[in-house]
């Protein structure tokens, strides 16, 4: 007997459209507490599968027989077993998530942000499971991708559907929470891989320096990508202004938080840079720029259709990380009580520098868990 399954795609749709559903997460409680599926109308219950081997009585009472229940585990095996038990107990609308949280971590949800000059458009790829955001800029048959995730076939397929050729891969900084797909995709499509030189001092491969003054043009002069040096999360962190309207802030500024300065060294070293970028450099930019960050941490940051964006001027009023006038207070906020670091972050940095080359399965394991690149004021 087989039970109904559901794909990460279908769950993503439920989340971005605020559909009501119930998730029964059967991973062990430590893993659940660390990282789980969240969203506006998603109710989540945790009961480890190994407590259900003798029967589902303990959780059965909390759930209705006709209620939609999605059972989730780490890789999809245990959720299938538990879903079958519910099915046998007479529950009618039970699903098991194919591939579990591992697949969820890799799901990318593309959403259109805006039309750009000429016939161009800007898309945000939302990695709901990990909170990573990447950007696809296309114009006049060409495309550039910013902060590309490891799952490059998804971008390739998207480019194919749009009938555009990927020319430029850009990373706003050397990532510590996920493995960049920028370099491998650049090799595959014979495009340029752009990386801030100050983050690239230890890399083992050739790259194109991402520097102020070296604007990147997508399509026939229509879309301009202008790098702005904005250190703080890493020493090389560089923001991008697209068409004088959109500010891609990388891991410096998020919608409800700011970047943490400690993942590539000591927090104390870069806290001054971080403050200068946020409190001086960005302040000189237009308040009407739309901020498009490289991460989100909370489902409350997901807007309509799953988009993550905000007006820069609004963030100067609302984002708690931008309200700290006292320098010392700011320093202690971003250096004391930092959240745990992202899973395997040192290995991930080495991978992104080309120093180590883990196999595919190892790369997936390294990326398990949330991004954890933010500090919340």
């Amino acid at each position: 007997m087989s039970v109904k399954t559901i794909t990460t795609n279908e769950i993503a749709n439920k989340i971005v459209n605020n559909k009501e559903t119930t998730i029964l997460d059967v991973r062990n409680t430590d893993e659940f507490d660390d990282w789980k599926i969240e969203g506006g109308n998603v109710h989540v219950i945790n009961e480890p599968y190994f407590n259900l081997l003798d029967g589902i009585e303990d959780v059965e009472d909390k759930l209705g027989k006709d209620q939609e229940i999605i059972v989730i585990c780490a890789k999809g095996g245990s959720s299938q077993m538990v879903a079958e038990m519910f099915d046998e107990a007479g529950f009618t609308d039970v699903y098991s998530l194919e591939g579990g949280m591992k697949a969820w971590s890799e799901h990318l949800e593309p959403t259109k942000i805006a039309d750009l000059n000429g016939d161009g458009s800007l898309y945000q790829f939302v990695r709901l499971g990990k909170g990573c955001l990447s950007y696809f800029i296309e114009s006049d048959g060409e495309a550039a991708i910013v902060d590309t995730n490891r799952m490059i076939d998804i971008y390739e397929k998207f480019a194919e559907e749009k009938g555009v050729q990927i020319k430029h891969l850009i990373d706003t900084h050397l990532h510590a929470d996920h493995i960049s797909g920028g370099r491998s995709l650049a090799e595959k499509v014979d495009g340029t891989y752009n990386l801030p030189p100050k983050d690239a001092t230890e890399v083992t491969f050739d790259y194109t320096p991402l520097e102020e003054g070296n604007d990147i043009v997508v399509g026939n002069t229509t879309v301009k990508v202008q790098p702005i040096y904005s250190p703080g999360h890493t020493i090389g962190s560089t923001s991008l202004i697209i068409d004088d309207q959109y500010l891609l802030t990388g891991d410096i500024l998020f919608v409800e938080s700011i970047g943490r300065p400690d993942l590539a060294g000591k927090a104390e070293d870069w806290v001054g840079d971080l403050r200068n970028t946020l409190y001086n450099c960005y302040k000189e930019l237009s308040n009407d720029l739309i901020v498009l960050p490289a991460h989100f941490s909370f489902s409350s940051e997901l807007g309509e259709g799953g988009q993550v964006s905000a007006r820069l001027g609004d963030l100067y009023e609302k984002n708690s990380g931008l309200q700290v006038d006292d320098e010392e207070e700011f320093r202690s906020m971003v250096t004391d009580n930092l959240p745990p670091q992202p899973n395997a972050y040192e290995e991930i940095r080495k991978t992104n520098m080309g120093k180590v080359t883990p196999d595919n399965e190892e790369q997936r394991e390294m990326e398990i868990g949330p991004n954890r690149c933010a500090v919340h004021g």
């Binding site: 430590d30 480890p48 407590n51 585990c73």
Partner: protein
């Protein structure tokens, strides 16, 4: 490397939930107090075996990595450990043992837990003879000095101390409660 276990379960190549399902079955047939070694390759099995053991009352001892294989050691819960009644009268608490050790007194400690329990953490210098083997091996111990017998919670060591007294050992102390509450130095032998 392998530690001594009473049973070995091969769950290699199996994905979640099978390592736990098989462990649960195997542990049913295990004698209380005995140790099972579960060999698995699923990386998630470590956290799950540990959490499952805790929720079922079995004692998760630890995991040894041997190449690709994870060897998990679990000791089946045993009722004798919940009995409060101790018969051997000469007891020493953990603070007492600690100050004897800190005083650099040359003392002998006999750890009567299973070898796998001992391997994952014991007091430096402690000798391991599991309770079940004491009958055949007691003569490895020196008759003259004090012997401090320790286990996890004080019950197996109580039985061991009684046995040694019967065999004519004079200065046998049961250290209570045992390694479960020991805050002093430990070492591992795996």
């Amino acid at each position: 490397m392998s530690l001594v276990a009473n049973e070995t379960l091969d769950a290699k190549g199996l994905a979640c939930p099978m390592p736990i399902v098989k462990t649960k079955k195997a542990i049913k047939n295990l004698d209380p107090g005995h140790v099972i070694e579960v060999q698995a390759t699923d990386k998630g099995s470590t956290a799950d075996i540990k959490a499952w053991s805790e929720s079922t009352g079995h004692q998760y001892l630890g995991t040894v990595e041997d190449g690709e294989v994870l060897k998990h050691y679990i000791r089946k819960a045993s009722e004798e450990e919940t009995s409060e009644e101790k018969k051997h009268e000469n007891v020493l608490d953990l603070d007492g043992l600690r100050s004897k050790l800190d005083g650099e007194e040359n003392i002998s400690i006999l750890d009567v837990r299973e070898p796998a329990e001992y391997a994952f953490g014991h007091i430096p210098g402690a000798v391991n003879i599991p309770l079940g083997e004491l009958e055949e091996r007691f003569n490895e111990l020196n008759q003259d000095g004090d012997i401090h017998v320790i286990c996890r919670t004080g019950n197996r060591s109580d039985l061991a101390a009684q046995k040694l007294s019967e065999k004519g050992y004079k200065n046998v102390k049961n250290v209570v409660p045992g390694m479960s509450d020991w805050q002093g130095p430990t070492e591992k032998s795996n």
